[in-house]
Symmetry: none
Subunit: 260 residues, 2 copies
C-alpha cells in the first residue's frame, strides 16, 4: 500500500556504477570511443574514476547489457558497432512509432474482420455516430482528432466480442499517448498528412455493416498501411537531415585526425 509512495520517494539511485556508465556511455555515443575501440583496462578505469575494480566491473556489465560494449576474456572490452541491435537489446524504454503501427496492424486487421462477423446492431450504430462526429469535428478544429480516432478503433475492437483483443488495442493507444516520441510524431503526421483517414474509416465501417470480414480486413489493412507509409516518408525525411549532420561530423573528425 504505502509501498508505492516509498518507491517514488526513493531519490535518484546514487550508485557509483551508474555514474561510470553515464560517462562511458556518453563517450561511446559521442564517438570519443568508436566502434571496435578497446576501452581502457579495468585497472586504468579504476585510477580514472577513483573507484574500486568492482564498481568498474559493474559498470562494464551494465554497458554490456545495454548492448554498447562487448568484453572479451583476456583481451579487453570493445565497443560494439551495430546500433540497431543495441537498441533492440536494451529494454528500450521508449516505443518507436513504427513498432506501434506494426503491432496495431497485426491486431486491428483481425479485430476488424471479427467485428464484421460479430458486431451487434447497437455497436454498428455507435460506430456510425462516432464517424458522424468526426466528420463534424474535422470541419471545426482538428486539435484533438486523434481522440475520436482512438474511440473509433476501440469501438471496432470491442465489437470483435473479444475482451482480450479490446484490451490490447486500448493498451496500444495508451502506449502511443504515453510515449512522447510516438505521440508527437504521429500527431504531426496526422496533421500534415494528406491521408484521407475519414474516407478510410468510412470504408471500414461499410465493410462491417455489410458483414463482410474479408472486405473489413482489406480496408483496415489499407488504412494502417497508409498510416505506416506516411510515417516512413516522414522518418526518411528526418533521417536524411540527421545523416547529413552525421556526415559533417565524421568529416570534421577525419580532418582533425589527418592534421596530426
Amino acid at each position: 500500500m504505502a509501498r508505492e509512495d516509498e518507491r517514488t520517494r526513493n531519490a535518484p539511485s546514487a550508485r557509483l556504477y551508474r555514474h561510470v556508465i553515464d560517462v562511458l556511455r556518453a563517450e561511446i555515443e559521442g564517438a570519443v570511443l568508436r566502434p571496435g575501440d578497446r576501452l581502457p583496462s579495468e585497472k586504468r578505469l579504476v585510477e580514472r574514476f577513483n573507484v574500486s575494480r568492482l564498481t568498474i566491473r559493474e559498470a562494464v556489465i551494465g554497458l554490456e547489457i545495454l548492448g554498447l560494449v562487448e568484453p572479451r576474456h583476456g583481451s579487453g572490452v570493445f565497443v560494439r558497432s551495430n546500433r540497431v541491435t543495441q537498441a533492440a537489446q536494451a529494454g528500450s524504454l521508449d516505443i518507436g512509432p513504427v513498432e506501434l503501427i506494426e503491432a496495431r496492424r497485426i491486431v486491428e486487421v483481425q479485430t476488424a474482420a471479427l467485428a464484421a462477423l460479430e458486431a451487434t446492431d447497437e455497436q454498428i450504430a455507435a460506430m456510425r455516430d462516432i464517424l458522424a462526429d468526426m466528420d463534424k469535428e474535422e470541419r471545426a478544429e482538428g486539435s484533438a482528432e486523434w481522440i475520436a480516432d482512438r474511440v473509433f478503433h476501440l469501438a471496432i475492437a470491442r465489437a470483435s466480442q473479444n475482451a482480450v483483443l479490446a484490451m490490447m488495442v486500448e493498451a496500444m493507444w495508451d502506449l502511443r499517448r504515453r510515449s512522447p516520441l510516438s505521440h508527437e510524431m504521429l500527431e504531426r503526421i496526422a496533421r500534415a498528412g494528406q491521408t484521407p483517414r475519414i474516407a478510410d474509416h468510412h470504408r471500414i465501417l461499410e465493410a462491417i455493416e455489410k458483414r463482410d470480414p474479408a472486405a473489413a480486413r482489406r480496408a483496415m489493412r489499407a488504412h494502417l498501411d497508409r498510416v505506416m507509409a506516411d510515417l516512413l516518408d516522414f522518418t526518411e525525411l528526418e533521417a536524411k537531415e540527421r545523416v547529413s549532420t552525421e556526415i559533417a561530423h565524421r568529416r570534421e573528425t577525419a580532418r582533425r585526425r589527418a592534421a596530426l
Copy 2:
C-alpha cells in the same frame, strides 16, 4: 558461419552472471516472483546458485538495467511492475480462456513469423536453452510447466524485435495468470492434455532457426489451434458433467420434495 555455431555451443564461455539473470528473469516473467515482491537476499542467492556474491550482484545490476528489478539500499531488491499489465489489471473483468487463446493466436502467429526473420543468434540460443530446460523439467516434476511455456513464448515475442508485440504477449500471459478461470482451466488441460506441446515447440524453434517465416507461422498456428481444440474438448466435457450433476441435483430435490 561455423564460428557462430562454435560460439553458441560454447556454453562455458557464457559468463556466470548471464545464467543467473536468465533464471531470475524467467521467474519474474513466469510470475513466480510477482511485482512488488522482494527477491531472496544476495546471501541466499549465493547459496542457491553456488556462485560468489559478486556474480549475484552483477546479475542484479543486469536485471536493474533491464528494468525488471529495483534494488533499495538496506531493504532488498524488488520486482518492478509492468505498465501494460497494470493497465490491463484496471479493467478487472474475468477473461475467458477461449478469448485468450484466440487473441494469442492472432498476435503470436505473427510474432513467430517476425522472429524467424529477425531473431539474433543469441536469442535463438536462448530459446534453445529454454526448450532444453523444459525437456528436463518435464521428466522431473510438471508442477510449473506453464512457466517455462510462458518464457518460451515471450522469448519468441521478444525476438520479433518489436517491443510493442512483446509487451502484448507478456500482458496476455499475465492476464491468464490473473484470471482464475483461465488459469486453472488451462493448467488442468495442460496437465491432462495429450498434446505434444514439446514437439510443437521444437517445430516452432526449428522454423525460426531455419529463418523460415512461413513455416514458423504455420507451426505456431498449429500449436495454438491444438491448444484451442483441447480447450474446446475439455469445455464440452465439463459442460456435460455439469449438466449431469445438475440433473442429479434436481432429481434429489424432487425426491426430497416428494417425500414431504
